[in-house]
C-alpha cells in the first residue's frame, strides 16, 4: 500500500528526515517510535502533504501512485488520514458541518453522490458509538473549547466517518488519561481491517498495549535505526533510546 524510499525532508533548511525507507501492506499496523525531535511528527506531516516541509530527495508510492505529487486534499480523497497531534480549532464552524463538507468533498472525488443531511446524520450517529461520545459533539464548533482528551477522541471520530485506507495517528495518546486512552484505542481497533493500514506514531510504549502493532520501527535523528516485531517496543520501554543512538554513528544505512 505504501512504500517510502530514501525520503529526505527539511524545514527552513534544517534536514530532519535523512533517508527513510519503509514498506507497509494493507492490513498492517506499524508503530513508529523514537525520542523527541527524532522526526516522527515530521514524517507524519510530510505524508499528509504539509507545505512547510520541503522534500529534498526520495519518493513515496501510495497504491502505486506518486504520493508526493498530490495536493493534501487529493491525498485525503485518496484515503490518507492524519489524526493530528494538536487538533486545530475552527471557531464558528460546527463539527457536523465541517465533517459533512469533508466527507462530501471526498465522495465527490470518488464519483459518489453527496450524502444529504439525514443520511449523514444516520452515519454519524453510528460512528459516535465507536468513541463513546454523545451527539452534542456534533453541534459544537470544531475543537473549540474541547478538552485535550475530547480533541483526540474527535480525531478518531472523524477517522471513523471518513473511513480512510491509510491512517496516521500522530501522538494520539499524548494528553490522554487511561480511560480515554482505552476508548481511543478501542476505536482504532474497531476500524482495523484487512484492507486498511495504520501508522501509529508515539514515544511511549503504553499505547501499544492497546493497539498491538505488527511492526515497530525506531526513528532516531531522521533515520529508522531499528525495526522489529511488537516485542521491540518492550525492549525500548526497558532500555530507552540511547543505546540505539550509537548505532546511528556507525554506517548501517545503505
Amino acid at each position: 500500500m505504501l512504500e517510502i524510499k530514501n525520503l529526505h525532508a527539511s524545514v527552513k533548511g534544517n534536514e530532519i528526515l535523512r533517508g527513510i525507507n519503509l514498506k507497509i501492506n494493507a492490513g498492517e499496523v506499524h508503530a513508529i517510535m523514537g525520542p523527541n525531535g527524532s522526526g516522527k511528527s515530521t514524517l507524519a506531516q510530510v505524508l499528509a502533504g504539509r507545505e512547510s516541509y520541503e522534500v529534498t530527495a526520495g519518493e513515496v508510492l501510495y497504491n502505486g501512485k506518486d504520493l508526493l505529487d498530490m495536493s493534501p486534499e487529493d491525498r485525503a480523497c485518496e484515503g490518507v488520514f492524519l489524526a493530528f497531534q494538536y487538533p486545530v480549532e475552527i471557531p464558528g464552524v460546527t463539527n457536523n458541518y465541517f465533517l459533512k463538507a469533508g466527507l462530501n468533498s471526498i465522495r465527490k472525488y470518488r464519483g459518489q453522490e453527496p450524502l444529504d443531511a439525514m443520511e449523514f446524520l444516520k452515519l454519524v450517529k453510528e460512528k459516535l458509538n465507536v468513541i463513546e461520545m454523545d451527539q452534542t459533539l456534533l453541534n459544537r464548533p470544531v475543537n473549540e473549547g474541547f478538552s485535550g482528551g475530547e480533541k483526540k477522541r474527535n480525531e478518531i471520530f472523524q477517522m471513523a466517518v471518513l473511513e480512510p485506507k491509510l491512517s496516521i495517528l500522530d501522538e494520539t495518546d499524548s494528553g490522554l488519561d487511561i480511560d480515554a486512552l482505552r476508548i481511543v484505542a478501542d476505536g482504532v481497533n474497531k476500524l482495523r481491517s484487512k484492507d486498511n493500514a495504520t501508522i501509529v506514531v508515539t514515544h511511549y510504549q503504553r499505547l501499544l498495549n492497546y493497539i498491538v502493532p505488527d511492526f515497530v520501527h525506531v526513528l532516531v535523528d531522521g533515520r529508522i535505526v531499528k525495526s522489529g516485531g511488537k516485542e521491540l517496543a518492550l525492549v525500548l520501554e526497558e532500555k530507552g533510546y540511547d543505546w540505539l543512538r550509537e548505532d546511528v554513528a556507525s554506517p548501517v544505512q545503505a
Binding site: 499528509a48 502533504g49 507545505e51 493534501p72 486534499e73 475552527i90 469533508g102 468533498s105
Partner: protein
C-alpha cells in the same frame, strides 16, 4: 483631448449662463454644483417650495463645510465642480441576450447561484422577465396597501404623502450633519420611502428588489423609514449581484424612525465594484445611516455585510431617545486587494434603561485596510444604560491591516459599558487541517471566514444570509494560496 475638455467646459458654461429654466428640457444637469443646480433638480421633479428651500439651506450650509479628513482612508481629492449631479434615469443600451453580457460577470452570477431571470434583470437584458418582476412588485404593493403600509419611491412620497415627508425628513440626519449628508440633502435624486402604520407588522421583508421605479437613482439616494407605534418592519437594502456602476461617488442618507414599541430591522448587503486587483476604479461609498428610537421600548437593528466599494465610510448609528429603547449593530466588512473600509457605529444613549449591542467583524485580505470606528456615548440622563461591544478582526495574508478606534464617553455613573476586541490571522494550520479532511483551499478559507462571521450572519434574514455567505466566498477568491 484638450479640445474635447474645452468643448465640455464651453458647453457647461453656456448652459450655466442660460440658467435652469431653459435646461428643463434636457435630461442632464450641467456639470458642477451651484444654487442653480439645486433648483434644476427640484424643478425636474416638480418639488414643492418647502422642499426646494430645504435643499437650498442644505446647499448653503455645505458650502461652509469641509470634507472630513479623519477617516483612515486615502483617495485623491474629489472635485465637486467636475461632477454631474442629475441625470434622468435613462434607458441604457439594452442588451439583446445574456450572451452579450461580460463573461466574467456571468461567471460571478453563476457562482452566486442567481436565477437566470434575475441575472437578466441585473444586466439589463430586455426580456419579459424584467416585466415579470414589475408585476411581482405591483402584486406586493397591493397587498401592502391593504394594511396601510406605504412603500414607494421618495419622489412619489413627496407628492402623495407630503405631510409625513415634511415631518420626518431631516429629523434624524439634519441637513447640517456632515459634509456628505449636506451634499446629499442638496442634490438627492430619489430613493425610497416606507411608512408602517400603528400596530401593523409588515408581513414580508421589504426589499429594494421590488423597488423598480427607483432602480436608477444612482449617486445620491435618500431613504426614509417610519415605524409608527407598535409597528414592525424588516427592510433589506441592496442587491447581492455585482453592480458595475460608473458613478465614482455615492453619498446616500438613510433615516429610520421608530416610535413607541416599534421595531425596525435594516439589513444591507453591499457589493459595489471594489476596483480591480491593482486598486484602479471602484466606488467611494460615503453614506450616512442613522436611526432614532424616538419612542419607549423601541428597537432598531442594523445588520450590514460590506464586501464591495473601493472605499467605505459608513457608521450606521442609533439615537436611543426613548426609555428602554434598544440599538443593535452587526457588521461584516471585507477589504480585499486595495479596498479600504472605515466603518462602525455610534450608539447615543439618552433615555433611561437604554441598551445597545455592537458586533463588528472585519476581514482584511490582500492589501486591504479595515478600520472599526465606534462611539458609545452615554448622556447624563441615561440611567442604567448598558452597552456591549465586540470587535473582531481577521487577517488573511501579511500585507493587509486591521485597526480599531473605539470611543467611549460616559456621563452617567450607573452605566455599564463593555468592550472586547480581538485580532486573529487565518492560520496555515487551520487551512491544512481542512485540506487534510478533503477540502480545497478555497472551501477551507470560505468555511473559516464564515465561521468567523457567524454571529452577524445569523442576524440576516435567511435567504440573505445564504447569499451573503456565497458573496463572501467570491470576494475573497484567490486571497490565500
Amino acid at each position: 483631448m484638450n479640445t474635447e475638455t474645452n468643448d465640455i467646459e464651453e458647453l457647461a458654461n453656456r448652459e450655466y449662463k442660460y440658467g435652469f429654466i431653459t435646461d428643463i428640457e434636457s435630461d442632464t444637469a450641467p456639470k458642477g454644483l451651484s444654487e442653480d443646480t439645486v433648483r434644476f433638480i427640484a424643478a425636474k421633479k416638480n418639488e414643492p417650495e418647502w422642499l426646494i428651500e430645504w435643499r437650498l439651506k442644505a446647499y448653503r450650509h455645505w458650502l461652509t463645510m469641509e470634507e472630513p479628513a479623519w477617516p483612515n482612508v486615502h483617495y485623491p481629492k474629489i472635485d465637486y465642480q467636475d461632477m454631474i449631479y442629475y441625470s434622468a434615469p435613462k434607458q441604457k443600451d439594452r442588451l439583446k441576450s445574456m450572451n452579450e453580457v461580460d463573461p466574467e460577470l456571468r461567471s460571478t452570477y453563476e457562482k452566486l447561484g442567481i436565477s437566470l431571470a434575475e441575472q437578466e434583470r441585473l444586466s439589463g437584458v430586455a426580456v419579459d422577465a424584467v416585466f415579470d418582476s414589475v408585476s411581482v412588485a405591483t402584486t406586493f404593493k397591493e397587498k401592502l396597501g391593504e394594511l396601510g403600509i406605504i412603500f414607494c419611491s421618495f419622489s412619489e412620497a413627496v407628492k402623495e404623502h407630503p405631510d409625513l415627508v415634511k415631518k420626518y425628513l431631516g429629523s434624524v440626519v439634519p441637513t447640517s450633519d456632515n459634509f456628505f449628508a449636506a451634499l446629499n440633502s442638496a442634490v438627492f435624486s430619489d430613493g425610497s420611502f416606507c411608512y408602517i402604520p400603528k400596530g401593523v407588522r409588515c408581513p414580508m421583508e421589504l426589499s429594494t428588489y421590488f423597488r423598480i421605479n427607483a432602480a436608477n437613482t444612482g449617486q445620491f439616494e435618500r431613504t426614509l423609514i417610519i415605524a409608527d407605534e407598535g409597528a414592525y418592519v424588516s427592510y433589506l437594502e441592496g442587491c447581492t449581484a455585482p453592480m458595475r456602476d460608473t458613478n465614482q461617488l455615492h453619498a446616500a442618507v438613510v433615516e429610520l424612525i421608530a416610535l413607541d414599541n416599534a421595531q425596525i430591522k435594516y439589513s444591507t448587503v453591499q457589493n459595489w465594484y471594489p476596483g480591480d486587483k491593482e486598486g484602479k476604479g471602484g466606488i467611494y461609498n460615503f453614506v450616512t445611516k442613522r436611526g432614532k428610537c424616538a419612542g419607549v421600548n423601541s428597537k432598531i437593528s442594523w445588520t450590514q455585510v460590506e464586501t464591495g466599494s473601493a472605499i467605505t465610510w459608513k457608521y450606521p448609528s442609533c439615537i436611543l431617545l426613548g426609555d428602554n429603547s434598544v440599538g443593535e449593530f452587526y457588521s461584516v466588512a471585507v477589504a480585499n486587494n486595495y479596498q479600504q473600509a472605515d466603518t462602525g457605529t455610534k450608539m447615543i444613549h439618552i433615555g433611561k434603561n437604554t441598551r445597545s449591542t455592537v458586533v463588528s467583524k472585519g476581514i482584511s485580505a490582500g492589501h486591504g485596510n479595515n478600520s472599526y470606528r465606534g462611539l458609545i456615548d452615554i448622556k447624563k440622563n441615561a440611567v442604567n444604560a448598558r452597552n456591549f461591544s465586540q470587535c473582531d478582526s481577521l487577517l488573511l495574508g501579511d500585507k493587509c491591516g486591521a485597526h480599531t478606534f473605539p470611543y467611549i464617553e460616559v456621563k452617567n455613573s450607573t452605566a455599564k459599558v463593555e468592550h472586547e476586541a480581538s485580532t486573529s490571522k487565518i492560520g496555515e494550520d487551520q487551512i491544512f487541517y481542512c485540506k487534510q479532511r478533503g477540502l480545497s483551499t478555497e472551501d477551507a478559507v470560505n468555511m473559516i471566514v464564515n465561521g468567523f462571521c457567524k454571529e452577524v450572519f445569523r442576524e440576516l434574514p435567511m435567504e440573505f444570509a445564504v447569499e451573503a455567505q456565497k458573496l463572501l466566498g467570491v470576494s475573497l477568491e484567490g486571497s490565500v494560496g
